[in-house]
């Protein structure tokens, strides 16, 4: 007799699903009902809406904060100067917590509101969940900091203002070559896509440049606290150049002090993850921070007028020095502005066509560049070094700017 209940559960399910249906649709109530959903109209009235998807809460909140504050600054400047094509710009900011599912939800939400120009997201993992759908919906995406190679290669509507992992790996390898190292080691995090992606591209670039990768060591996750054994292995292999693509909060307190304590005195090279490292170093560890090089999207100490005015405006508005995320968020908005003005329209398809013109040169905080065929900027990168100031703080110096033309 109890068995009678069995199928009734199916009903429960259907009921529940239809309940969800009501709920789901209410959230998208602001969507224009007449919208075909495919080529969503971008403008409503006199404001131009641009969507921003970034991880504003969770462990990577620092990235999201950088991106959306940078974008806000740019929008404020643009609006003060009269907007784009006479339209005021409004940002619609959503949080994806660096999760692919949340990112896709946020994307769908923006598109259903009729927004066709989107900036996002910070991580390659989250961004890769929306590249395919963006192409299908014919919505333009400019990714501020998603560096995985494949983000832009597969789809027509995806662009970014940062370089790809392969370029960053190639820049590091080129730097090693010019500095005269022909044997290198790698220490990376196997549990993190950013780190393992850079490791792959660096070793590929090394093979091209004729540099031998003698030793490769890894850590299991970003929460790993011990790197001594990995660097002991580097010392045993007799290396003077180690590529260690980690993030600032691992590099500062753990990797570099432990590498030096393990007796490794050679070069440690990294990538844009090293940005803001000096904030994460104990005073007592400062002397360890010599002979460290890294590539970044821009150099905050750059003396060019573009960068100094951006840094000053950002400091004025938010009270802190902008990270690379702030710079790329800021640039994303200006790239949209240039493309919309070139297209003379805010229609996503027209903006896409304008962006796809590889001859247009964009002058941005993070470098002057044009897009390649796939939608990734062709630009060089500053190589920056840390320097122990001798008083417990760490300074930064620009060592070199590796130009895109040097890499070919």
């Amino acid at each position: 007799m109890k068995k009678t209940k069995l199928l009734s559960l199916l009903l429960a399910l259907c009921m529940v699903l239809s309940l969800a249906a009501c709920g789901g649709s209410s959230s998208g109530s602001s969507a224009p009902a007449e919208s075909s959903g495919d080529a969503a109209p971008a403008a409503s009235g006199d404001t131009l809406k641009i969507g921003v998807i970034s991880p504003n809460t969770g462990n990577l909140a620092a990235y999201g904060t950088g991106i959306h504050t940078g974008a806000e600054l740019a929008v404020e400047e643009i609006n003060a100067a009269g907007g784009i094509l006479g339209q005021q710009v409004e940002l619609v900011e959503l949080d994806d917590r660096a999760d692919p599912t949340e990112c896709l939800n946020a994307f769908n939400n923006l598109v259903s509101q009729g927004i066709g120009l989107i900036i996002g997201s910070a991580t390659s993992g989250a961004t890769s969940a929306i590249t395919g759908p963006a192409n299908e919906e014919e919505v333009v995406i400019i990714a501020p900091t998603a560096t995985a190679d494949s983000i832009t290669t597969e789809d027509d509507y995806i662009f970014r203002v940062c370089y790809a992992d392969s370029a960053q790996g190639a820049i590091a390898a080129a730097y090693a070559k010019t500095a005269g190292y022909d044997k290198v080691g790698i220490v990376y995090c196997a549990g993190d896509v950013y780190s393992s992606g850079l490791k792959d591209s660096f070793s590929a670039a090394c093979a091209e440049q004729g540099i031998e990768v003698v030793a490769t060591e890894s850590s299991a996750a970003l929460t790993t606290t011990e790197y001594t054994n990995q660097f002991t292995a580097m010392v045993n292999a007799g290396l003077d150049f180690v590529y260690a693509p980690y993030y600032y909060d691992v590099i500062g307190p753990y990797v570099i002090p432990q590498a030096r304590a393990a007796g490794y005195d050679g070069v440690i090279m990294g990538a844009d993850g090293y940005d803001t490292t000096p904030d994460y170093v104990r005073e007592a560890d400062a002397p360890a921070f010599n002979n460290i090089y890294w590539t970044n999207h821009y150099f905050a100490g750059d003396t060019s007028e573009k960068v100094t005015s951006f840094v000053a405006a950002y400091k004025d508005k938010f009270g802190s020095e902008p990270s690379a995320f702030g710079a790329t968020g800021y640039d994303s908005v200006y790239v949209y502005k240039a493309a919309i003005e070139a297209a003379g329209s805010t229609d996503p398809a027209a903006v896409r066509d304008a962006l796809a013109d590889t001859s247009t040169v964009y002058e941005c905080v993070s470098g002057t560049f044009s897009f390649d065929e796939s939608g990734t900027p062709v630009k060089g990168a500053p190589v920056i070094t840390f320097k122990d100031n001798g008083d417990g703080t760490i300074g930064m110096e620009l060592v070199d700017v590796v130009e895109a033309s040097d890499l070919a």
Binding site: N59, S219, A220, T224, E226, N229, D249, P253, A284
Partner: protein, 298 residues
């Protein structure tokens, strides 16, 4: 050879931290048979307290590590508060499992509360130097004083806790409560007071563990508790949960295994190996290395 010594030292360094944290887990489990998932988060609370009180300690002319005193007080309060607000009502009504789930919820709560506090936020923080740097050399390898201090502290706490539970009146009351709450009540023991005391001691241990952790690995962030807690908890289970010397033994076993895996097998698989060892040990000796198998009463 120097690689071997280095690996041992790294193992001891990791192990000393795990051991110290595992002591707290074991202490609580030994008395109320509850895996206190929030213990890792007490360490996080202690860590942030230390970070915020170090300037105060320095201003008073005390060494930086004196901030641990404030952390001990805060952690003990948080521990007792957790017991009174969350664990006690559940223990009265629910099953073992609901207590365990409350502990998970508590852990979730503390982590996210910390993130919501503006002064803490989601970004990691880096602690100041706690002890004078330096160490002695074995061959080409440096054995840091901080590691030695951590090992000594673990050993001292282990002995003191062991003596406390075995010899003192309160300790006997604790063991009594752990065996049979009803009988303990009949013997005139205030069960609730005893359990609160247990939480106070266990949480105070978390503060000490936070100090020693930050002295060696100076990064602290809100989800530190889960990451660190899991390994420490594995240590406690490995040694035989509820057994005080077992926690310390388990800590060092896990630390050494992790270090040797990194050096000699595969650096990226160290987590998997640690858990594999746990599984193997539990299958061979279900009560842990030092645990005794107790027959079930019907």
């Amino acid at each position: 050879m120097s690689t071997f010594i280095q690996t041992v030292i790294v193992g001891l360094r990791l192990g000393s931290v795990y051991a110290l944290i595992a002591l707290g887990y074991t202490m609580v489990y030994g008395i109320i048979r509850l895996i206190n998932f929030a213990h890792g988060d007490f360490i996080m609370v202690g860590g942030y307290t230390i970070i915020f009180t170090v300037p105060l300690a320095l201003a008073l002319g005390l060494p930086a590590w004196a901030a641990v005193l404030a952390a001990i007080a805060v952690c003990a309060l948080v521990g007792m508060g957790t017991e009174i607000i969350a664990y006690r009502p559940v223990r009265k009504k629910g099953t073992n499992m609901s207590a365990l789930i409350t502990a998970i919820a508590m852990s979730l709560f503390l982590e996210n509360l910390a993130q919501a506090i503006p002064a803490i936020g989601p970004n990691p923080k880096v602690a100041d130097q706690m002890f004078t740097a330096g160490g002695f050399r074995i061959g080409s390898v440096t054995f840091e004083y901080t590691t030695v201090i951590t090992i000594v502290i673990s050993a001292v706490i282990m002995v003191v806790l062991y003596m406390f539970t075995q010899k003192t009146r309160l300790g006997r009351a604790m063991r009594c409560v752990s065996e049979d709450k009803a009988a303990a009540t009949l013997m005139g023991i205030n069960v609730n007071h005893t359990i609160i005391l247990t939480f106070a001691i266990g949480s105070a241990l978390a503060a000490v563990a936070a100090l020693m952790y930050m002295a060696q690995y100076p990064r602290i962030y809100t989800t530190l508790g889960s990451d660190l807690g899991i390994k420490a908890f594995v240590s406690a289970v490995l040694g035989g949960i509820g057994i005080i010397p077992g926690a310390v033994l388990g800590g060092f076993v896990v630390g050494l295994f992790e270090s040797f895996t990194t050096s000699y097998i595969s650096s990226s698989l160290s987590d998997a190996v640690v858990f594999l060892i746990l599984i193997v040990v539990l299958l061979l000796k279900p009560a842990g290395i030092m645990g005794k198998n107790v027959g079930e009463k019907v």
